[in-house]
């Protein structure tokens, strides 16, 4: 289509529409028109809230004079584009999920925005800011928790200034249980995780004959391996395999299989191991087992998924009859959460022969299917009838055995049927619900024995700008776009009220680390227009143009 060149008159008219003064408007020689921009998004059927959020954002951004469209792609294509084709997209909807180890702010604060990870690491938007790097490094090295919190909050405020993301919401997840089966007082909520957590499974007290906890998952598990990442599989492996520390319900790491853990100096950690622990095959848990549990994942070619969790360990030594000492390559304040609470204690007599067998072959240890999952956790593995269910049983040999008999995770692909099952007592613990949370609330209203607990998630939803591509390399442009988005409406409309407006990568579920001031509520279109105008952007023929002299470097599409 032939484009009419902007005249001085139309540019001035546009500038006037943006509320500019004559001196502010660089009307004489506006830059090129900004190419049509594309927002990549998963299909509505896969994630209705995210899709709705994308549409709401587009609606506002078009009012700024942007030509913009949504490109709907399957989730795997979106991941491929974002991670592996880093210069080929403009914007994408994205989500960081809440995991217990993310209750320490380091993983997200450091990984998402550190310049060192911009080329092929977690910093997929390509954000580079030396001032931020300094803060991220400093919080990582700071041992004093209060001082570290100050640094973490400063980092969040810096991101607020730069807006590499349009933070949208912290979702609120609803989980439920049958209060006639489980003593309500023993079902505990973990900050940012909800009632589906280790502490609930350990403490839940059955009230009657039904002593099996029956839970749901919408999708089958891919692995229960102690060194394989699988979001739902980790619910199970976390119960089978113990850890030296565990994240408590407040989000803090506490000693678990270790009686005590302390920093000897900024790069040395000493753990005193609990006495008398046993594996499920009745063999004792030895210091060699624990040492090996951290050494095996250090082979990055065999366990690439878990290697980052132990990459900072220089050595693991047995330094006393019950003491293990970790020497780190560099100070790491998140070590207790990201490593000691994450790495599973595995029996050396089971895994060493497997590692030896696989040495020199192509096969990864993390892909090895070990049929007898022997751990030392409070639950022992009984069966995995893929894709129907996984069953665990109480391990009476544990130093804190659970109160329930069996823990059964059922795969239920139909979300409405999940609620029907909860109603009929076919399941008695709703561990996850991916449908409309209003339906869970309605069920609880109808059936009083169903208790619902809704928790603000550790994870967050956002739209990521690709800072490698103009105009997203301009902070003013990003801030203007972010200012136009109303988070309150977003939470109410796209997430049906089951979300809180988000302003940083540290969820409000972690009040100790979260910077309240980081929230940019947005919804101020006039302010967004003013920010653009102040930065030299102009409207011509209804389309936003770059500041004077700036050329469009990328072709549309």
């Amino acid at each position: 289509m032939k484009r009419t060149p902007p005249t001085r008159r139309t540019v001035l008219a546009s500038a006037a529409a943006l509320g500019l003064t004559g001196s502010q408007a660089k009307a004489d020689a506006p830059g090129d028109a900004i190419r049509p921009l594309v927002l990549v998004c998963k299909p509505q059927a896969t994630d209705p809230a995210q899709y709705q959020a994308a549409q709401l954002c587009l609606q506002e951004w078009r009012k700024l004079g942007l030509k913009i469209s949504v490109q709907v792609v399957p989730a795997t294509q979106q991941s491929t584009l974002v991670w592996m084709n880093r210069t080929k997209w403009d914007m994408t909807t994205w989500e960081m999920v809440g995991r217990p180890e993310r209750s320490d702010p380091d993983e997200l604060t450091y990984s998402l925005f550190s310049s060192s990870l911009a080329d092929n690491g977690y910093d997929f938007v390509g954000y580079k800011n030396p001032a931020y790097d300094k803060l991220a490094d400093a919080q990582r090295a700071e041992e004093d928790r209060d001082k570290r919190a100050v640094l973490v909050k400063q980092a969040q405020m810096l991101i607020k200034q730069d807006q590499p993301y349009v933070y949208l919401v912290y979702p609120r997840r609803s989980m439920a249980f049958n209060s006639e089966v489980w003593d309500q007082a023993t079902i505990v909520e973990e900050a940012g995780i909800g009632i589906r957590n280790f502490w609930t499974f350990l403490q839940a007290r059955p009230l009657g004959e039904q002593k099996d906890m029956i839970l749901n998952t919408p999708q089958p598990l891919s692995s229960l391996h102690p060194v394989h990442m699988d979001a739902i599989g980790s619910w199970v492996s976390d119960l089978i395999f113990d850890h030296l520390m565990r994240v408590d319900i407040h989000g803090n790491p506490v000693p678990w299989a270790a009686e005590s853990v302390r920093w000897v100096d900024p790069v040395t950690v000493e753990a005193v191991i609990r006495d008398g622990m046993k594996f499920h095959d009745d063999t004792p848990v030895t210091l060699e087992d624990i040492q090996y549990s951290f050494q095996m994942p250090m082979d990055k070619n065999k366990t690439p998924q878990f290697y980052p969790n132990v990459a900072n360990i220089a050595s693991v030594d047995i330094t006393g009859p019950r003491t293990i000492t970790f020497k780190l390559k560099a100070p790491q304040s998140s070590f207790f959460t990201s490593t000691l609470s994450k790495m599973s204690i595995i029996p050396k007599h089971v895994w060493k022969p497997i590692a030896d067998k696989l040495a020199g072959t192509n096969q990864l240890i993390e892909d090895y299917k070990e049929p007898n999952l022997i751990g030392s956790g409070p639950f022992k593995f009984v069966h995995w009838r893929d894709p129907e269910e996984v069953m665990l049983a109480r391990f009476d040999g544990h130093w804190t055995p659970p109160k329930l008999d069996r823990w059964i995770l059922r795969t239920v692909s139909n979300q409405e049927a999940t609620l029907g099952m909860l109603r009929n007592n076919e399941i008695n613990f709703l561990a996850i619900f991916t449908g409309d949370p209003q339906n869970v609330a309605a069920l609880a209203k109808e059936i009083p024995k169903i208790k619902v607990v809704t928790t603000t998630d550790l994870g967050f939803q956002f739209i990521a700008f690709n800072l490698r591509r103009p105009p997203y390399d301009d902070t003013a442009f990003r801030v203007a776009l972010s200012t136009a988005v109303n988070r309150k409406i977003m939470a109410a409309a796209a997430w049906n009220g089951f979300a809180e407006p988000a302003g940083s990568c540290v969820s409000s579920a972690l009040p100790f680390w979260h910077a309240d001031d980081s929230l940019l509520m947005g919804g101020d279109l006039a302010q967004a227009k003013k920010l653009l105008a102040d930065a030299g952007y102009t409207l011509s023929g209804g389309q936003l143009h770059y500041p004077a002299g700036r050329k469009e470097e990328i072709s549309a599409g």
């Binding site: 792609v73 399957p74 989730a75 795997t76 294509q77 979106q78 991941s79 491929t80 991670w83 592996m84 990984s111 990870l117 092929n120 690491g121 977690y122 997929f124 099996d212 029956i214 999708q219 089958p220 891919s222 692995s223 990442m229 990055k300 070619n301 690439p304 998924q305 290697y307 980052p308 192509n362 096969q363 990864l364 892909d367 090895y368 299917k369 069966h383 893929d386 894709p387 129907e388 269910e389 069953m391 069996r406 059964i408 059922r410 795969t411 239920v412 692909s413 139909n414 409405e416 049927a417 029907g420 099952m421 109603r423 009929n424 076919e426 399941i427």
Partner: protein, 324 residues
Amino acid sequence: MSAKALLLRLGQTVFILWVVTTLLFFLFRMMPGSPLAAYIDPSMTEEQQAILLHQFGLDKPVWVQYGLYLLNMAQGSLGVSFIYKESVGSILIQALPNTLFLTLTSLLIAYAFGTLMGAFLAARRGTWLETVTLPAILATRALPEFWLGMVLLAIFSFSLGWFPAGGATSPGASFPSAFARYTSLDYLRHLMLPALTLAIFLQGLPTLLMRSNMLEVLQEEFVVMSRIKGLSEWSIIMRHAARNALLPVATALALGIGSSIGGNVVVESVFSWPGLGRRLVEAVSGSDYPLAQGAFLMIAAAQIVMNCVADVVYATLDPRVGRR
């Protein structure tokens, strides 16, 4: 059917299977998105990513991958699932019995009902019963399976509590053998609602087919002769006419087995039934090429083989077909 004709038909079957295999292989590689996206942690180094690529065999040129795929297939191997790290064959074999039980049960119900109802409607042609029943049958055939499944769930599971809402067995149930599992009351209770849903969906074809065949057969001279001989109406319909009208229904049943094996995706999802259909959905959404190819191939093979069986059976039952 002559031996030569039979060999020719088998040759055609093998050729079609090869075409399907090839199409599946290239179609999945043309799909957007890399299977590695689900596995590669961005914090991995390029070297670590290369290890994974090598592991999946995706570092080789696509023609080499195709050659290896055919070679493995010829040796009876469908490869290893990217997601589950298990042989595709064993994953599919695990899911197949559930799909077969569901398919065969529903077809049995649908064709038993359809045959009888078709014969009955033909005998009652022009009555108010036919006026009411025919549209009802057409309507059930047109109902979306997921909707029908949800209605049955709402009535028989959520409200009445007669049947479980999903799965193939009760939580934690264990059985001494596979035979014990598939013949247990627990399994049959779980099978009932998904099988009924599928049966209601499937019964339209045999009913209408049987009815129209019966209407033709009832005009035949041997029926008139039977009436002249004074045989009862029931005897004429069921013993003489129905037997002659059954042949096309039997053919449709054979084809129905083939197509229904792959057509259970919706029902399996609604009832969380652990069959092939659900594996297929997981594999496609996770870009698990080997599993998706294997599942599609199994479904296509069932369809192609059942077509071949139908041809052979038809030729055997009606020698005129084989001579044509």
